[in-house]
Amino acid sequence: MWGDLVGARNDVIEAISEIAKSRASLLAFSGQLASAGDAWLQEVVDRTAGADNFGVTSALSELTAVVNALTPQVGRQEINRLLGRALGLGVKIERQADGASRLLGRLLGARLADQAREAGVNLLVLNPGQSSTRVCWIAGTQIRNRDRVANQPGLPDTAEMRASGVFKLMQRWGLDRSAVAGVTTRSGYLKPVPPGSYRVVPQMAADLTGTRGRPGDELSIPLALTVAEACGGDSGALVVVSDPLSSDELDITERLTGIAGIRRTGQAAHFLNHKAAWRLIASWLKQEPKNLDAVTAHLGSAGSIARHRDGRIQNLIDTFSGIPSPNHCGTIPVAPLLSALMSNDLNVKELQETVYSRGGLLSLAGTDDFRALIGFRRHGANRLQREKVDILLDFFAHRIAIAIAELASVGGPVGVITISGGLTQLEELAGLVEASLAIGPPLVWMGGSLADEAMAAGLVQSFHRPETIKDYVAERDALAKRRLQEDELLDVIIFERPLLYKKPGEPVTSAVELVDAARIAVHGRTPPVIGMVGADNEEALLAAKRANKEGRYKIAKFQLVGDSVAINEMAYEFDLMIDDDNYSIVDTDTPVTEAIRQLEAGRADILMKGNVKTEELLHGVFRYLKKSGQLQPGQLLSHVVVMDLPRMSKLLMITDAAVNPYPDEAKKVQIIENALRVARCLDILRPQVAVISAIEAVNVGIESSIEAERIASHFEDRDDCVVEGPLSFDVAVDPAIAEEKHYQGRIRGTADILIMPDIDAANVLYKTLTVESGATAAGVILCGDLPIVLTSRGDSPDSKLVSIALAVKIFIDMHEKGKKKTTQT
């Protein structure tokens, strides 16, 4: 035995020392790789500058060889770093050389690229901006020419005006209109669709929305149609859009936000860039794109970061859902935002501007130009301004790095991270981002926007593989339907009423909390069974139904004791499911006797009054309790009503408004004891009991004031409660009045329990409060450990539910306590 353990320990020690040894040599090689790698990359850069096709080809094959060598070794920091840089350089070289035909070839795949190259078809990419239109002429797989056509000043900005500029440019290029077989453009914000290439159809123009997207977007489709109409001979040219701005593949989980009514969509302005970057890197790494899980960031004037998984962009963070940008604020902590709104430091209009155009760097530094900021830091800024600029740059770098890491951290390992867009040109900021992302998968800097190349590839593919062109209307409707189905799932109601967490032992302070307390008490045990005595009673049945609304969260099971014919008839109309579990019928013509039989047999735990006379029920219960020894000598049955008053922050209990009409002193002491037991179940730690009279000083003319003092004296030595009397009602429940009257007792407006002089006073108070102040009241009769639910016809439906909850809470508390006692003894 010992031998084995010693052997295992020695193995561990040996393994550690071997690792240490190899780490030392690894470290040496790592240093070598880092410095040699940088030198080599610089050399490749120098060599390709101004090189001919042969020079480029040989540099690329060198890069490919190194990438192939590095790929299997991915994981170590210096290898990842070198791989990322080699890939970035490769992309850069392919983009610049030979009309980007190698890059397009990667996007298209070898077979399609060969076919397209051979066919040599002329295609146009039109990219309208605010004041000019960028035009790309693709021949085969090569960008033959690209240029920008400025809008004609003074003329209205229309598709026709821009088209005429495009035609002039084509003339200059020597590109005949009839030779153009296809046109593509930016899509603008359509309705959500899956990514892919779509034939342009009139419905798209109708679906275009101008709220998001770039200026010029609204003209892109009309422009493409106008140009295409004049091109391509008789049949006109093919017009498609690829990976529209409104592409959406967001996973259902990611659609949620922390507010039920607000949902995210997966739309971002940069689907073209994300998909292109991902496909390019996959091609370099010789992987099927759908097997490459990646995070791609496109950070321009706006920005977005996408998580590619299983070939889909399953999650996405953009300037509306996370990262700040030169003029977008990104996410803002809600609480300070809300207080800013509430204190009028910010109004909704300003907030809107901040979100869409005046947030981010513009808001923080007064410029939306990072170059200007960095330039100012170098020349002209004072020390404090320099410090602030440094903080701002760190802030942006951190937000970007955190967003990338956030997306990379969920859903399995990520093979590569790419960053494209304007940020790549800002060395200082890029350096900070990279430093913040020090560890992780290879990071590839892709250079500026890949949109033109991506659009070109989409068009080439559509032209040669028309079967891959998607139908916009069908895809739009299918996605809308799927989202609707998802919404149905997300809209499924779990709890109809908020169920709020409460620390065990804290006092119950409202009717709602009382219901929750009962539900929590029931949680994890079988719900107690309430025997409804005389269940052929509409009110009681509806209360029972409410207590277990649709069986979702049960606080009790119900045994409906009474005439089965009448109960069935009501159950039918009330949609009560008699399932012999939550609701079962006990058929009898003597409900009280039968209910007590059920108690005796342990088949019912609590009784609830239905269609029987209260006295009849109480007599039956009293006999049963005495017989079974559950009632101590002197102990009596009394009624306690727990009130939730709108203007009070805690519950108020009143007793006895129903059972004992004119109790004497001894009975009142027992009534207090019963009320105290209820208070304990509500976790009121040291209940304050006010014995009510008309005045708060003993007056020989007022009988109740004398009695109140005597009753209070019974409890003098008790430290589990405070009993004081006589007190007037206002002094007992209103601290302000107690102070005004200079009342010096211990209960100054803070009473938990009111002991009323007699049934008349108690009942009038109880009814006044429910009728006049809209209080919710829960009534229960306590008989030893047995609670009886007693609701009256005038009670609101809520009151009836709370009454049931109160009885359930009392039962479970007393039952558990009883159990503890037994285990202790």
């Binding site: 509806l542 014919v565 008839e569 039918y572």
Partner: protein
């Protein structure tokens, strides 16, 4: 899987499987059951039905004679000597009729009827108590192809007069053979009301305008036995039920379907086995304690036992105390079953508690029908009248169904106290919401049927439009009943509520569903609910109307008049609702049930402001009822 020839299994799991199979192969099941009868001409198709029309036809082109099946075919074997009918008269004495004696009596009466000009296709009304002669009349009528119309003995004379007129009867048999005065009185009263049909008095007196039974029989000619082979769909009998007011509603029963299902169900209810039908064994006796004029009395009280060659036991209902009568019956017939009502059962158990039975014998099976058998009555009756509560079975049968469609069976596994039971083989009852969707287990809804069964009614005599209105409108393409039931997860049906009120107006009862059906059928009405409410002048009807979408703008008064006219024409003046409420929609529960209890409260002005409307899906519907003028 058992073949459909065998007796259905007696454990729940096997039975449910057997039942499902029989529903899936409904045609095959009922073809096999048809072998229980002797056919003169074989039928060609088992069933052809379409509830949209509605049209139902069973065993088409078959020809048979019901009386031959119940009597003649037993004469060849030992059954001939067996008692066909045992009758305990008011004096406590038993009269016995063997199968051959019964046969002779039937021949004599049919001869007499022929000589009085009775021919196939005519109707004869039997206003008779449960006496052997009533059976003789039924059998004779069936033998001649006459359609007999049994009328419950408790019906008042003027209602009987209306039934006689409505069905166009050519002969009315009235009274009882034991010569009770009140029956004689009935004959006298009825003879004053009728003009046309021959009135036959089975009492002892000889009132003017009536012939006595003896006189009728004396006129029998010496003719040969005339047995008429009738087609399968020939009306065997017409069963009047439902309201006792207005134009009576008679359900028409087709000969073949009724006979096949009576024979099949008899075996299931009374657990007949091969041994119990052995001639050597003491025959199984069946005490029919329900009125023979009811569907249960016809199907399971009379025809079931006779088709099986069993003994039918009848008893006069007066003089002896309940317990003493039971003592006499159980003492004489050790293997006795009983068909009775819950009310009667409650009387018996109460009486037996006071005066315990002297005999040790108990009923083999107590079958309860025509009311709600509560769990407590089930237990009490099982204890005092049968050997164990599982021997007390519950039948769901109505005049329209012609036979029991749902029942518990006398096996512990197939019986639940208070349950309606499980469906009989070949019948597929379903539970529907008001919206016409099927309910999930334990959820209450309408009992309805998507397909027909052999014994189901073929029409309402002389009122084809009422046939459709009453049964086939509420849920499209389904036969609906006014009963609300639930089906539990085991497959048992439980009765919950009747979706109609029985209202007494001017001393006569009326089902609100009849008025509802008339209103619903009115083209200007989208939806209608009728409830009974009590008012200082007695009970009255209130109708809640949702107009058809196109009729919103029409004056309410004209519509009110039209509706009143429609009800008056179909049912009668007294059935016109005294209050009509118009509303945009009826208050419904979240599952679409009309909240009738709430409507009753609206109509009686008891709706309070703080009503718990938690179960109502559209509480705003209540705002829509504008106060009507009180009529």
């Amino acid at each position: 899987m058992k073949s459909f020839k065998e007796k259905p299994p007696s454990t729940l799991r096997d039975y449910i499987r057997f039942q499902r199979q029989s529903v899936l192969e409904r045609e095959k099941y009922w073809r096999v059951q048809a072998d229980r009868l002797d056919w003169i001409d074989a039928f060609k198709t088992v069933v052809s039905d379409d509830f949209r029309m509605p049209r139902v036809e069973w065993y088409s082109e078959g020809r048979l004679n019901a009386c031959q099946n119940a009597l003649d075919r037993h004469l060849g074997d030992q059954v001939a000597k067996r008692s066909a009918i045992e009758f305990l008269d008011d004096d406590g004495k038993f009269t016995t009729l063997s199968y051959s004696e019964l046969h002779a009596r039937v021949l004599r009466l049919s001869g007499a009827l022929v000589s009085r000009g009775m021919e196939a296709g005519m109707r004869i009304v039997l206003y008779l108590p449960n006496i052997p002669d009533a059976v003789v009349f039924m059998l004779a009528a069936a033998r001649l192809g006459l359609t007999y119309v049994p009328v419950p003995a408790r019906y008042p004379e003027d209602l009987v007069a209306r039934i006689v007129t409505q069905c166009g009867a050519s002969l009315v048999a009235v009274g009882g053979s034991s010569g009770r005065a009140d029956y004689d009185q009935r004959v006298v009263e009825l003879s004053g009301k009728l003009d046309g049909p021959i009135l036959v008095s089975l009492g002892q007196s000889n009132p003017p305008g009536a012939v006595t039974y003896a006189e009728l029989l004396k006129g029998a000619g010496k003719e040969q036995d005339r047995t008429v082979a009738v087609g399968s769909e020939h009306p065997l009998c017409i069963l009047y039920a439902g309201s006792t007011t207005g134009i009576p509603r008679g359900s028409v029963m087709a000969t073949a379907g009724f006979m096949v299902q009576a024979a099949t169900t008899h075996e299931i209810l009374f657990e007949k086995t091969a041994e119990s039908t052995e001639p050597k064994m003491q025959s199984l006796c069946h005490y029919c304690a329900v009125d023979m004029a009811s569907a249960a009395g016809q199907s399971h009280g009379v025809w079931g036992p006779l088709l099986a060659g069993d003994t039918l036991v009848l008893a006069a209902t007066r003089r002896l105390s309940q317990a003493r009568r039971l003592d006499r019956l159980l003492g004489k017939f050790p293997k006795l079953t009983v068909l009775t009502t819950p009310d009667r059962l409650a009387e018996w158990t109460a009486d037996v508690e006071k005066r315990p039975l002297k005999t040790k014998n108990r009923f083999e099976i107590v079958a309860s029908c025509g009311g709600v058998l509560t769990p407590r009555l089930y237990t009490a009756a099982g204890h005092s009248l049968a050997r164990g509560q599982e021997k007390v079975i519950n039948l769901w049968i109505q005049s329209e169904s012609g036979a029991t469609l749902i029942c518990t069976r006398a096996h512990a596994g197939l019986n639940r106290g208070g349950a309606l039971g499980v469906p009989v083989p070949g019948v597929d009852p379903l539970v529907y919401t008001d919206a016409g969707d099927e309910c999930s287990p334990n959820f209450g809804g309408h009992l309805a049927f998507r397909a027909s069964w052999p014994a189901m009614l073929r029409g309402v005599w002389g009122q084809p439009e009422r046939y459709k209105e009453m049964y086939f409108v509420k849920i499209p393409k389904a036969f609906t009943t006014p009963d609300a039931v639930r089906r539990d997860s085991e497959g048992f049906f439980w009765f919950m509520s009747r979706r109609e009120d029985i209202v007494k107006i001017r001393g006569l009862s009326l089902c609100t569903s009849e008025v509802e059906a008339v209103l619903q059928a009115h083209p200007k009405v989208g939806e209608a609910a009728v409830v009974g409410v009590s008012s200082p002048e007695g009970e009255m009807l209130a109708a809640f109307i949702v107009l058809a979408a196109s009729e919103e703008k029409v004056g309410r008064e004209t519509i009110e008049e039209e509706l009143a006219e429609a009800v008056e024409k179909r049912i009668g003046d007294f059935a016109v609702p005294r209050r009509i409420y118009f509303a945009g929609e009826l208050p419904r529960t979240s599952t679409g049930k009309t909240a009738r209890r709430l409507l009753r409260r609206v109509a009686s002005g008891q709706l309070s402001g703080d009503e718990d409307l938690g179960h109502i899906a559209n509480p705003q519907a209540l705002d829509g009822f504008f106060s009507p003028d009180v009529g």
